[in-house]
Amino acid sequence: MARKKVTLQWIANDSTRRATFKKRRKGLMKKASELATLCDVDACVVVYGEEESQPEVWPDVAEAARVLARFKAMPELDQCKKMMDMEGFLNQRIDKLKEQLHKAQRENRERETTLLLHDAIVGRRPGLAGLSAEEIAGLGWMVENRLHGVREAIERLQAAADKGGQGQQFSGVPPTSLQLQLPYSIIGPAGHTDVHHQAPPPHPHPHPHPQGSWLMEVAKAGGDLGALVYSGFGGGRGSVGGAGGTSTEVADMLPHLGGFGAGFGWPDPGLSPPFPPM
């Protein structure tokens, strides 16, 4: 383990640089060895010191020559596809770090706004004194988002409670449907993320034609009309069923992509080198 963070720049002191070179070169060879052994792949490393004419090679000169010859024998396109030089590598690393920074900043902004919201609710900031326009806008956005989520949950609970009388059901449906349109037009995409996560569409009935039951399903789904319409009419007509299936696949793609992102921590570098070989 390194005692302290090493400044990543050329070491001016000759003896220190030479010692570091020997140490790190050995470590590099070891890393290559582990990679080749664990993953059962061909690999080679060639290192020329600053004033050396003979390189240090892993695994050995003959094997490295074979690997490099195999690399050279491949088509130019295949060679360049995954080729990286120092600038490309550093740029890629910088992009990754920028992404992490952006994510951390967003999370911190959300936590800050949550704290502000709590202060506002308990009355520590009467009239939101001392906040900038940007902070107020962020707070307003979060309040709208939270309001949407809470209203959705309340409607779901009330719809479940109103399963009893027919008359009650009929009178309850129109206000629900009318209300649902307004929040959708106000709340942005993030709100709908919550919707999809919290209220997955229920399995539709095989007979969607009775209007009363169809409207009740709309109320149950909490306003997710698209899924109900696709699924319901898919059963009735074969040609529309295909479109419904496509929509379902598209909808299902989002969580899969999310899962893929989480599982595959190191995506393949598709970065093409800025300087193609001569």
């Binding site: 400044t7 720049q9 050329w10 070491i11 640089r17 070179f21 470590g27 590099l28 582990e34 052994t37 993953c39 059962d40 792949v41 690999a43 080679c44 490393v45 060639v46 290192v47 020329y48 004033e51 390189p55 491949m74 060679q79 995954k82 990286m84 600038e87 550093l90 770090l97 920074l101 951390a104 936590r111 800050e112 919201l117 709590h118 506002a120 939101l128 326009a133 940007e134 309001l147 309340i154 609970l157 349109q181 037009s185 995409p189 993030a190 709908h192 993320t193 209007q211 409207l215 709309v218 306003g223 009309l225 698209g226 319409v229 009419f233 040609s239 529309v240 479109a243 598209v250 190191w266």
Partner: protein
């Protein structure tokens, strides 16, 4: 140490370790001014390579060391072969290092700055988490952090009242800020940013949002008009999922509701809708 047997695990290990290997190689190059080249073939035969100055330079130098560069020919004639070779290598190495160092130094500085910014964000997060922890005893903070779907009806109603109160205050403050010309500009900029943020979070739901409510509106109107229009309601309802022209759909819906278009007129409108949709999957079936 032996090869990993599980295919998926081995692939993941390969990706991670390859990245780490290249990282170590780049550090060695930067710290010690060394010329480094590394090539790794995946199990599927894909070549991954890293090189400084470039893998081609390293490979060419390694694969064919004997002939010295043509520019050093006079030096070779004047001195010994070994000496000439060393001189040539040193000259090349120095030249390459000098050429790339400025850009690499700039990139390294940028990387260091980003890392410092990330560290400060981490410290800020710890501060915020500490503040949140202090407030966790209060009921409101528990409601704020709880999952909405886990709360009961009474809690939801209480939460709703508090949020609506804050929403009113926020709207008042926003209105006050908007009256000032200078703040108006700032608010507009902030709103733009918020819109971009929303768009960036989830790009697809807006499409469903725009399309989904229309059938409900049309259907409600049909219900109000009576049972005789229920037959016409179905085509309009299932036409919605396959079209992205929501405004056009809404307009057509209103046309169909117009009493002036009776039974015969209704047929013409339906035909126009299908024609406008172009290659509608159920076109033949509906005409039949």
């Amino acid at each position: 140490m032996k090869p990993i047997e599980n295919e998926e695990t081995r692939q993941i290990c390969f990706t991670k370790r390859r990245q780490s290997l290249f990282n170590k190689a780049s550090e060695l190059s930067i710290l010690c001014g060394a010329m480094v080249g590394s090539v790794v073939f995946s199990t599927f035969g894909t070549p991954f390579s890293f090189g400084h100055p470039s893998i081609d330079d390293v490979a060419n130098r390694f694969l064919s060391p004997p002939p010295p560069p043509p520019s050093d020919a006079p030096a070779a004639s004047s001195g010994g072969g070994a000496g000439a070779g060393a001189s040539g290598s040193s000259s090349n190495d120095g030249s390459c290092s000098w050429a790339v160092t400025d850009t690499i130094r700039r990139l390294n500085s940028e990387y260091a700055e980003l890392r410092q910014a990330l560290d400060s964000e981490s410290k800020k997060r710890e501060t915020l988490q500490e503040a949140t922890g202090k407030e966790m005893g209060a009921r409101m903070m528990q409601l704020l952090n709880a999952n909405v779907s886990e709360l009961g009806l009474a809690e939801l109603l209480e939460f709703l009242e508090c949020l609506e109160a804050v929403d009113g205050v926020v709207n008042n403050e926003t209105a006050n800020k908007t009256t000032t010309t200078l703040d108006l500009e700032a608010t507009t900029t902030t709103s733009g940013g918020s819109s971009q943020t929303r768009q960036g979070l989830v790009p697809q739901p807006p499409m469903e949002t725009v399309v989904a409510p229309a059938p409900a509106a049309a259907d409600l109107q049909y219900q109000l008009l009576g049972g005789e229009h229920s037959g016409a309601a179905d085509p309009m309802a299932f036409a919605a999922p396959t079209t992205s022209w929501s405004s056009e759909f809404v307009v057509d819906g209103f046309e169909v509701d117009d009493p002036m278009h009776g039974g015969g007129g209704g047929g013409d409108d339906l035909h126009d809708v299908y024609y406008a949709l172009g290659d509608f999957p159920g076109d033949d079936q509906n005409h039949g």
